[in-house]
């Protein structure tokens, strides 16, 4: 491997590459960020944008939790509460989770492929600004919904926005219009970025990187992007129909004219379920990169990981109606969606087992990033199992739309996806900024978040079991939900503190963190071969790879990964000692 043209770690840093655009007045700097088509800057903007909306959506969640602290509480009105949970859901899915995963992909996919940018850099910038304007449009509804005299309006139809509640007859004013338009606009952004990921992964890989030498992160972003183009497009189509109904007097969802309330639910969940996998694929992707490095072992069963991801992608397109068991489908239809939903558990199980096997026999370094990964494993296991419980239709009829479901999907999205993303932030922050995040603050962040998470969401299952439905602004004192709701609210507050620590850590470490160097974690993929932060063109010399772990080969010339080719047996191999 001596002839490899991979830059030696630190080699680029020594050439003194700095970010030339950091010079100039603040206006010039701002201009350079606004007009940029650089995947790294766009990636950073996606993540910052998402963190901003995480704070906004988090405040909405805290308002919800304060209101539910007591039965018959009057902290906010019924209307405000309904707006809060609608905005919380819409914000967290479309303007926090989606931009977060797009941001990670934008930053990392070209670097891991050894490419100098995405396949379509200008489309990439366009997509980001579409997503960004979608968020602004949604929040403009506070002003524009019924005009300023309404002293704040926002959509109040639930983030699933079942028709005919969204029809003009039941949702007056313009708040629902802003909701639909904002999702159409940000939907175009999502589709654009997904097309870009696919084209980048297939067309921009560096020399020697066959598809089966591609790191798992870009692989999972390909699967995610496939799901985006197949799932977000139907949502966009449905939003266009809703807009036609509201503005042109159409009748798609007008039950008075023979239209159907049912078909919106189908369209929404045809988007809504794959959307979960759109978000969870990048979380898997982060696991696939972080766990091996801190376990000091190659990922266990790479082909199985790829196959399982693709399988999850396909099966997830056929499970949407498990959100609709109560809506009155035939028994055959219900049974079909029970089966397809349970089937998703199999490839998901394979992934969890493969991660355990990757840790097995390793020497695990418990950095904050790795702690978040272990947290992910346990919590995602529970989230998956409550998902299986929910797929059991007769039991689902009880649990559906109860707080059990709320607890379940927050387990997936917070306990799974957000934990993975926080792990990813701790892992790649040194690459992005050139400075380490503070590990002591990181441990505080992790443990507080774990405690807050479990106090909040473990307990939240119980009121659901005790019959508490979702979306209610208040509840009866005699139902026995009060104490439980108070515990949940306390847990929510603890999580808020943990996220505040993360934000402080990011700001503090940006300014004063230890200098990271190009490869602080002793990692193996191509992004660690360039300086931290990478120069605008990423790599001084275009890399050439001969295996999945080019840096491992370089660091272990006596024990390189064998060139792994398609179809080749990969069974257990011990290194020559």
């Amino acid at each position: 491997m001596a002839g490899s043209s991979i830059p030696v770690p630190g080699g680029l840093g020594a050439t003194g590459v700095t970010d030339a655009e950091a010079e100039g007045t603040w206006l010039e700097v701002l201009h350079s960020w606004v007009v940029t088509a650089d995947h790294k800057k766009l990636g950073i903007m996606y993540v910052l944008y998402a963190l901003f909306f995480l704070a906004v959506g988090g405040i909405e969640a805290l308002i919800i939790r304060i209101q539910l602290f007591f039965p018959d509480n009057h902290f906010v009105s019924a209307e405000t509460f309904n707006r809060m949970f609608t905005m919380h859901g819409t914000t967290m899915i479309f303007f926090v989770a989606m931009p977060l995963v797009f941001g990670f992909g934008n930053y990392l996919v070209p670097l891991m492929l050894g490419a100098r940018d995405m396949a379509f850099p200008r489309l990439n910038a366009f997509s980001f600004w579409m997503s960004a304007f979608g968020g602004l449009l949604l929040y403009y509804s506070f002003i524009g919904g019924v005009g300023l005299q309404g002293a704040g309006s926002a959509p109040d139809v639930g983030w699933w926005a079942y028709s005919p509640l969204t029809a003009r007859a039941f949702s007056r004013g313009h708040s629902t219009d802003y909701w639909a338009l904002s999702l159409i606009v940000s939907g175009f952004g999502s589709i654009g970025v997904a097309i870009n990921f696919i084209a980048t992964a297939f067309c921009m890989r560096c020399k020697g990187m066959t598809l089966f030498r591609m790191p798992l992160l870009p692989w999972l972003y390909v699967v995610m992007s496939g799901l985006v183009i197949l799932a977000v497009s139907p949502l966009t189509a449905a939003q266009v129909m809703l807009t036609i109904d509201r503005y042109l007097g159409g009748h798609f969802f007008d039950t008075q004219a023979g239209g159907s309330a049912l078909i919106w639910a189908h369209f929404f969940w045809i988007f809504g379920h794959p959307e979960v996998y759109v978000l969870v694929m990048p979380a898997f992707a982060i696991m696939n990169e972080v766990i091996p490095v801190f376990s000091r072992k190659a990922i266990f069963g790479y082909p199985a990981m790829v196959a399982a991801s693709v399988a999850i992608g396909f099966v997830s397109l056929g499970v949407w109606a498990h959100h609709m068991f109560t809506i009155g489908m035939t028994s055959i239809g219900n049974a079909f969606f029970v089966l397809s939903t349970m089937l998703v558990g199999i490839p998901t199980g394979i992934k969890i087992f493969n991660w355990i096997a990757t840790m097995w026999g390793g020497k695990i370094r418990y950095t904050t990033a790795m702690l978040f990964c272990v947290g992910f494993l346990l919590q995602f296991l529970i989230a998956g199992l409550t998902g299986i419980i929910l797929s059991v239709e007769p039991f689902n009829l009880q649990l559906h739309n109860s707080y059990f479901v709320i607890a379940h999907f927050h387990y997936v999205i917070v306990g799974g996806i957000l934990f993975a993303i926080f792990g990813g932030i701790y892992y790649w922050f040194p690459k992005v900024t050139g400075r380490m995040l503070d590990e002591r603050l990181g441990k505080w962040n992790f443990w507080l978040f774990v405690i807050g998470f479990h106090v909040c969401f473990d307990v939240m299952h119980v009121p659901g079991v005790l019959g508490m439905p979702r979306s209610i602004y208040t509840y009866e004192a005699d139902r026995g939900w009060t104490t439980l709701n108070q515990i949940v609210s306390v847990g929510a507050a603890i999580q808020g503190i943990a996220i505040a620590i993360l934000v402080y850590n990011i700001i503090h470490s940006c300014l004063k963190g230890a200098v990271a160097g190009p490869d602080p974690w002793d990692a193996w993929t191509l992004e660690w071969t360039t300086s931290s932060p990478p120069p605008p063109y990423n790599f001084a010399i275009e890399p050439v790879v001969r295996s999945r772990r080019p840096l491992w080969d370089l660091k272990h010339p006596n024990d390189p990964d064998e060139p792994v080719e398609e179809g080749m047996s990969y069974s257990g191999r011990m290194p020559p000692s």
């Binding site: 396949a119 997904a194 097309i195 696919i198 497009s233 159409g250």
Partner: protein
């Protein structure tokens, strides 16, 4: 998919041959077509689901006529654009411009046909998008397709202008081919729309 053949040196190590990857334009356009197809599928499902559910107002059987000529015009534009592409590969620019121009003309005729149909539906049959469920689903689906034809025509015309001014260079051949992929998609979606709206739905 990767096109790298495995060539090994004497030690069994793989030697990198010329590293060739698929064109990003084609892959990107393919992905866009998949996304667009998903949008069309939803509109088609909404149309099919609502066939016969209109409780009042004009019904398809009473007002729709088979747009056979229009269909022939649009589908033959798929043929003419292939001829144009071939001419471009052979650098026969005059032939290219002729075929390409003919493609645009066929597309425009199709749009005019649709406009005429809509004019008749609105003024004679009094069917608008808000009249009934049929009107809503019909104008949405056919309009969605027509808007794709319009976008396609704008892009085709841009290429024609470049060709007429001599700005179209050999290195642009692939971009023209990628655009042609989109046009083929627009044509074949019409087959689906035609079948659903004018055959099944009537």
């Amino acid at each position: 998919m990767s096109t790298i053949p495995m060539i090994r040196d004497v030690h069994g190590h793989v030697i990198d041959p010329e590293w060739k990857l698929p064109s990003r334009g084609r892959v990107g356009m393919f992905a866009l077509i998949v996304a667009e197809s998903a949008i069309f599928v939803i509109f088609v499902v909404a149309y099919v689901y609502n066939i016969g559910r209109s409780t009042y107002g004009p019904q398809p059987r009473q007002v729709l006529e088979l747009p056979i000529l229009n269909t022939i015009f649009l589908l033959s534009s798929s043929f003419t654009i292939v001829m144009a592409e071939r001419a471009l590969v052979k650098r026969a620019m005059a032939t290219f411009k002729a075929w390409w121009g003919l493609t645009i003309v066929l597309g425009v005729i199709f749009l005019l046909g649709t406009a005429q149909e809509w004019n008749k539906l609105i003024t004679v049959d009094h069917l608008t998008i808000s009249t009934n469920l049929f009107g809503t689903t019909f104008y949405s689906l056919v309009g969605l397709h027509a808007s794709h034809v319009i976008v396609g025509l704008i892009m085709l015309t841009t290429v024609l202008i470049f060709a007429l001014t001599g700005a179209l260079k050999p290195e642009h051949t692939e971009k023209v081919e990628v655009l042609a992929m989109y046009w083929h998609f627009v044509d074949w979606v019409w087959v689906v729309v035609f079948t659903v709206v004018y055959v099944i739905g009537r």
